[in-house]
């Protein structure tokens, strides 16, 4: 059996690559991902393989109601998207009249079709675009992440301003970045049993700036002992 990490000229499916260079690359769901595993208190993971679908629609119309989150908020769901066996999606209200739907790797065609079907039913003027291969996405995880982000971002990240499930777009290391606070409640999280997750942020930028943002965050996190890990979801 040939090494799956070595693409052959007649490989049946092309391998997608994140803009962020992986450590010990292996292929999973058609994406080259990092095989690194870290148990450090503060970690950064490349989550670019997640399906990313953008929706533009009227600010307060029927589609906004179907998606279930407003500008500045993010939530898992909604039920209308999960029909037809689609996995759980994270819907982010990333701008006024602008949403980003994040779902498991490889599901972007299904998510896009589902969203298009939902929108067609409303009759509103809207657009659905698959941005999976056009954006970079990374996850910061650890209690020190707000202190670390404060070095490169001017937004007040305290619980009162950016609580769990908040989303905003601002400048991070001088780069326009979508930030979603999405705390981790997996088994590895201390306090998961009490209902407190571990602080975690998703950072989302243009693909061409992905490696820059990743390196800038690693640099900012050096004093907190940041380490690169593979997908948090897979590690959890």
């Amino acid at each position: 059996m040939s090494d799956p990490n070595t693409p052959t000229p007649n490989a049946p499916t092309p391998i997608a690559r994140s803009p962020i260079a992986p450590i010990n690359p292996r292929v999973e769901n058609g994406w080259e991902v990092s095989d690194a595993r870290s148990t450090a208190a503060l970690t950064i993971a490349d989550e670019t393989p997640l399906a990313k679908v953008a929706v533009r629609a009227p600010f307060a119309g029927a589609i906004a109601g179907l998606l279930g989150v407003g500008f500045g908020r993010a939530a898992r769901g909604p039920a209308s998207l999960q029909a037809d066996g689609l996995p759980e999606a994270l819907v982010v209200g990333s701008g006024p009249g602008e949403w980003l739907v994040l779902a498991a790797p490889g599901t972007s065609p299904a998510v896009r079709q589902r969203l298009e079907a939902l929108i067609a039913g409303t009759g509103e003027f809207a657009s659905v675009v698959d941005l999976t291969h056009g954006r970079a996405l990374m996850r910061l995880r650890g209690e020190d992440s707000p202190a670390m982000l404060a070095k490169v971002c001017a937004i007040d990240l305290s619980d009162d301003v950016v609580g769990n499930g908040a989303a905003f777009r601002s400048s991070v290391a001088r780069l326009v970045t979508d930030i979603v606070r999405d705390d981790c409640f997996d088994a590895r999280s201390a306090g998961a049993a009490r209902g407190d997750g571990v602080r975690s942020y998703l950072l989302h930028c243009e693909r061409s700036s992905g490696q820059y943002l990743f390196d800038a965050l690693l640099d900012a996190g050096a004093e907190f002992g940041i380490e690169v890990t593979g997908s948090v979801r897979a590690a959890g």
């Binding site: 500008f71 701008g95 006024p96 001017a154 777009r169 601002s170 400048s171 326009v176």
Partner: protein, 89 residues
């Protein structure tokens, strides 16, 4: 550092914005003379005091919006349309 309050995103660092200039009422295309168009396109009153301005929040909501800013103190406020209409009278 100057903080500017975006009507969508709240107070943000002014480096996130692009200045769109003073905003004036647009002349009627069917009635304006070339001089009026030139004034509208190229001239600003540049007052020392409250000025109605357009800003673009390029690093945030990516929306254009209008505010009133005091050019001496950099205080700014959302536009009160009723007050603006009275001032034009």
């Amino acid at each position: 550092m100057m903080l500017l309050t975006c009507p969508w995103c709240g107070p943000r660092n002014s480096t996130e914005f692009r200045f769109g200039g003073e905003s004036h009422p647009r002349p009627r295309p069917d009635a304006a003379t070339p001089e009026e168009w030139r004034d509208y396109l190229y001239f600003a009153t540049n007052p020392r005091g409250w000025s109605r301005e357009t800003w673009y929040h390029g690093s945030g909501c990516r929306r254009y919006f209008a505010i009133e800013r005091h050019t001496e103190t950099n205080e700014h406020r959302a536009i009160d349309e009723r007050r603006a209409a009275e001032a034009r009278r």
